[in-house]
């Protein structure tokens, strides 16, 4: 998977997160490698479901809990974006 493709999609996914969750920050302020949960953006499980929803709408990806990679997928903006790049169907 191309690092360039991930890098190119980062701003779009950041924008998606900020607008879906109505976060009080600019998309560019989300650090690509900072944790989305815990000490990073402090997202919770409600946010996960909302992000999953916009991702399924925009990229045609259905997330599943039994996917062992879930923790990794939501570990950072970059990880989430990489997952989208690898799985997107639209």
């Amino acid at each position: 998977m191309s690092q360039a493709a991930i890098e190119a999609l980062l701003p779009e996914v950041a924008e998606l997160i900020v607008s879906a969750l109505n976060l009080d920050i600019a998309p560019a302020e989300i650090e690509a490698d900072a944790p989305l949960f815990g000490d990073g953006l402090s997202l919770d499980s409600i946010d996960v479901l909302e992000i999953a929803l916009v991702i399924s709408k925009k990229y045609g990806i259905q997330l599943k809990s039994d996917n062992e990679d879930n923790v990794r997928i939501f570990s950072s903006l970059r990880a989430l974006t990489a997952y989208i790049v690898s799985q997107r169907t639209q």
Binding site: N22, D39, Q62, S65, D66
Partner: protein
């Protein structure tokens, strides 16, 4: 001594649970529970942290057989575990995965040998009705968890009453729950409803829409989906194709008639709601599209004194004052008119404005501050809190970082707005109307706010 059977199923071959590798019969369940009971150190209190609904069920029954009480906290934070250990020093934590329980005595769920299956001839065990079977915890208005003791007899009655209210006593369903089994709604509607309502349950806890569809497909009809307005609205919004659902059940937050009607149109299933609280247990049910009135569960009674309503009788432990404003109607029916001020419920998690304001005021550098819950934009969306803070020298982010240590993430303000002063009146109070005006000026006009 009055004793109540562990479960109401009359047939050991009846299916009690569905797991990914197939059905588990009542006989299997009893055998597993007895096998675990034989190994479990009978310490008094069992902190049952099992993620798998079936393993939770085995642990709960094994604990009952050993005369133990199940501890069911509303959060699994390190702070919660510390407090539990202080109050119940002889507890053991039953874990079925790598849940981190530092400092707690941990008992890993063992692999149970079905080959040594106990004969069903031993029958269904009975438990004394007055045995303290479980302690559920609520976040009280001070934010400190309050213990709600439940006796075995009342828990069994709750399961029976819910089954009658939903018509499951006549036609048992397979229960698929998106909610955790330890919290009151999931405990009652996926576990007690199986034990004493004659139903079977899916052992997993599907989260994403695709998970819910797969879980439903893994069990036979008739199927009942036990969910919340939040999970339901995500499920419908996903637009994925759903297996047949026969009944939809929702609780923890009000469901709008719009979402209820959409859910019924999409699935063809009646959309039912349960009203209750951790303190009182389940109290009433309704079909949302039939109108606003709720019907009390069999045996339960409401009493009113002034603007205070209390629940009693049936499976209610003692007399429980409710935090909602209620209008009684004839024929065991009533209307809900919202919660008493100050109490906050976001996605089923509860706290009070007073507690949140106290935590905000305790952040070093904060001179004054107030949390504010905007008027609901839509009952199914999750309305987030706003906070107005006077803190010269601090940034909104610094304050949020400090708050994160003190309150659950779901209550963190979005946004946190720095102001020069709060609109306090001459007695120092903050009229809601003035906060609403401040919200309109600083948040809505600035383009924040959902929707």
């Amino acid at each position: 001594m009055n004793a109540v059977p562990l479960l109401a199923h009359g047939d050991s071959a009846a299916v009690f649970a569905w797991r990914p590798d197939g059905p588990v019969t009542v006989g299997d369940y009893l055998a597993d529970a007895r096998a675990l009971a034989a190994r479990l150190p009978a310490t008094g209190y069992l902190l049952n942290l099992c993620h798998d609904r079936y393993r939770f069920a085995v642990g709960f029954a094994a604990g009952l057989l050993r005369g133990m009480t199940s501890l069911q906290p509303s959060s699994q934070s390190p702070e919660t575990f510390r407090r539990l250990q202080d109050e119940y020093p002889d507890l053991i934590a039953l874990c079925d995965n790598d849940t981190d329980v530092p400092d707690l005595p941990r008992f890993a769920f063992p692999s149970l040998d079905r080959a040594a299956k106990t004969l069903f001839a031993e029958g269904i065990p009975s438990i004394p009705a007055d045995h303290p079977a479980a302690i559920l915890f609520t976040s009280g208005s001070t934010g400190q968890p309050q213990a709600q003791r439940k006796t075995w007899g009342k828990l069994a009655l709750n399961g029976q009453a819910e089954a009658v209210a939903l018509g499951l006593d006549i036609k048992p369903h397979v229960l698929v729950g998106t909610v955790p089994v330890q919290h009151s709604y999931g405990f009652e509607s996926t576990f007690l409803l199986a034990l004493h309502g004659g139903c079977a349950f899916w052992a997993g806890k599907p989260f994403y829409p695709q998970d819910i569809a797969s879980a439903l497909a893994a069990v036979p009809q008739p199927r009942l989906l036990v969910t919340t307005p939040f999970h339901l609205s995500a499920l419908l919004a996903s637009g994925i194709e759903l297996p047949a659902i026969d009944i939809l059940l929702s609780a923890t937050a009000p469901l709008s008639t719009t979402l209820a009607a959409e859910a019924e149109a999409r699935t063809g299933a009646p959309m039912l709601e349960i009203y209750g609280s951790t303190e009182s247990g389940q109290l009433a049910s309704r079909r949302t599209t039939d109108g606003a009135a709720w019907t009390l569960l069999p045996g339960v009674r409401l009493e009113q004194a002034g603007d205070e309503t209390a629940a009693c009788d049936g499976h209610v432990e003692g007399r429980i004052v409710l935090s909602d404003v209620i209008e009684l109607l004839p024929d065991n029916r009533f209307l809900l008119h919202g919660r008493h001020a100050d109490l906050i419920n976001i996605a089923g998690k509860r706290t009070s404005l007073a507690y949140l304001n106290h935590q905000l005021g305790a952040v070093p550098g904060v001179v004054d501050g107030a949390f504010f819950l905007p008027d609901e934009e839509g009952p199914d969306g999750i309305t987030r809190l706003t906070a107005f803070v006077v803190a010269p020298g601090l940034t909104a982010r610094q304050i949020t970082v400090a708050l994160r240590e003190r309150i659950e993430a779901i209550f963190l303000p979005r946004p946190l707005v720095l102001v020069d002063a709060l609109p306090r009146n001459s007695t120092g109070k903050l009229p809601r109307g003035d906060l609403q005006a401040l919200y309109a000026e600083k948040v809505e006009r600035a383009g924040h706010g959902r929707g």
